[in-house]
Symmetry: none
Subunit: 196 residues, 4 copies
Amino acid sequence: MKKKMNTQDAIVEAAFTLIARHGLKGTSLSMIASEVGISKPAIYYYFPSKEELVDYLFHIVFDDHHFSAYFSINEYTKENFEKRLITDGVRYFEEYKHNSPALKVVHEFVLSAAQKPKYEKKLKSIMEQFLEGFEALLSYGVELGVISSKNTKVNAHSLALIIDNLGNFMILGIEMDYKKIWETAVSNVMKGSERF
Amino acid sequence: MKKKMNTQDAIVEAAFTLIARHGLKGTSLSMIASEVGISKPAIYYYFPSKEELVDYLFHIVFDDHHFSAYFSINEYTKENFEKRLITDGVRYFEEYKHNSPALKVVHEFVLSAAQKPKYEKKLKSIMEQFLEGFEALLSYGVELGVISSKNTKVNAHSLALIIDNLGNFMILGIEMDYKKIWETAVSNVMKGSERF
Amino acid sequence: MKKKMNTQDAIVEAAFTLIARHGLKGTSLSMIASEVGISKPAIYYYFPSKEELVDYLFHIVFDDHHFSAYFSINEYTKENFEKRLITDGVRYFEEYKHNSPALKVVHEFVLSAAQKPKYEKKLKSIMEQFLEGFEALLSYGVELGVISSKNTKVNAHSLALIIDNLGNFMILGIEMDYKKIWETAVSNVMKGSERF
Amino acid sequence: MKKKMNTQDAIVEAAFTLIARHGLKGTSLSMIASEVGISKPAIYYYFPSKEELVDYLFHIVFDDHHFSAYFSINEYTKENFEKRLITDGVRYFEEYKHNSPALKVVHEFVLSAAQKPKYEKKLKSIMEQFLEGFEALLSYGVELGVISSKNTKVNAHSLALIIDNLGNFMILGIEMDYKKIWETAVSNVMKGSERF
DNA sequence: GATGAATGAGCCTTCATTCAT
DNA sequence: CATGAATGAAGGCTCATTCAT
């Protein structure tokens, strides 16, 4: 699959794998180097410091991790709204099931954010953007008349909280009916949902 | 208040504060020793190794962090159920607002859990116990007739997911109407809640 | 001679010897440690960093290297002035002959001063203090009537320049009649010296 | 002026500038390469090793730094001797004022000489040649009858010591009346100088 | 002529840990 | 109870150097 990968990509991939396994601080350049099969200083040919390598990972991870990558608002219609919201959400947290290193690394960053102001700011904005994404989507649903106009913000935030944490619980391997939980959450924000 | 704290407690407290600030790996025994004002080897008098100190912290933290510490099911009645569920929940995540070291340390453990099987098991069980706590509480609500008998498990998990993540978002300093979100979540699981 | 020297002193001495031989940058903590016969981190028990060790050496060296350590103005009289000035000077640069590490280290600092502003300031003040020392001494000679009142400052500076550089040349092992040169220099500043 | 300088010269010039600023050991090939705007291995095309590059600089520096470059004995006459000696000397150490990299590099070499026998020998001979230059010049003055025949060697060495150290003090930025000092020194060796 | 890629050696520093006292 | 003194292992990083292209 990746016979002749270039060194830089190999470093990045190894870094992902190792950070997912041992954490940001628990992963040393030596470990990365030996995983890639190169010498330690070789890493410095591609990244000026460990910090910049980590920054690079940060960007890679979060450039793919934005609301519109999972929920494309322009494909939502009056007819498919609820269904679409459900399937998009499922698609989102199912990714966690496959346990990709990238997702664990996201968690590393979330945690380290509390200690590194540099990441904190960026991360906060990413999460806020997620919240705003849900808000925009629900507002659109209100426009379409499929969602009650009340409490749009609170509902959006609720959905965000649930879907985000579903991923966290999945990583820990806690068993719950993820799909049903999400369906119920979505249903709760829909106008005159089938619950009644 | 803590004039003559014994050394062991001082170590534990310093460890909490520092781990909250610098993370598990970012906190060294030197830092703890100098924070307490003792010599490094002194720590070894009380804890055979850093790992065992951390284990001790783990137990302290999670012995206080169980469902019934926040939600005392036996104080719930037909009349106060919803209100009580709301106020208990608010009390739970408001603790995060005060940014207590203990809570940040909980997060450290949650994260390191993914890397240390030893913690993973314990942590999983703690979280599952939380889930079960909500299940038991809601079941009791069903018994009391204030909660619909449908989807108890899903509803319980939804509440758990929301309240847990409200804390996470608070730590990051993301602004949302925490109380309203929780109220809505609770209201959604109540039978014939005021929303309708 | 120094069978049971304490570790700190041993480190300092080794540092002197090695810096004299290999220069400031050419001397590593490993070298010092192995010269002393201890492990590298042991040095950190006594000095928080290489830089602070070097600073310490700087102070040791220059605390002994001030004008009054060689020329005690209060012992100069009308009668012994010239003789005393000569012998004190000889005593000064004869020290260089024994090639003590400390003196070579002085030279290292003088050189590194051009690159490290921190040392530059201190060093400049030390040298200026030397210049002022000669000025004060010659002024005293004027008072005593053994030195012409003309050009005191220039004469003082000339003496300083000569005596300082005599040491430099000695270190390089260049052969010259050091004593005679100094005698002549002193004689030149004396009033009605025997030369005429 | 140096639009299309060839690479070798660019390397040499960059090396001079950087060594003047950071010292011999403090200057790495990477620094030189990036200053010149070439790749590190490119330097190896012109110089087989850092050591040989340094050797080359050594020769460049000291090929220009010899007595006759500053004092052209054949232009000295009975009439202009003193004046000429003064102006030539001033010209010599005024070069230090402009802080040319080459001069700082000279100092680097002087210092490293104490550590590298290879340079020590060469440097010693250069300095001795300076001493001999002054001796020859003063001998010529004796021939011309403008300088007393006594103590020629000592006088020559005194002049050398003073003029050399004037440069050193200048580099450190110590303020003194450089010109006057040199004038006095010259005057002291002249026969029946105006001092009397 | 010059470079991209890589390396072994070595540097300063920190860490968890030990042990005699 | 507690410390002073010390250590092996490891971490991030830089350096001079090499070599195929």
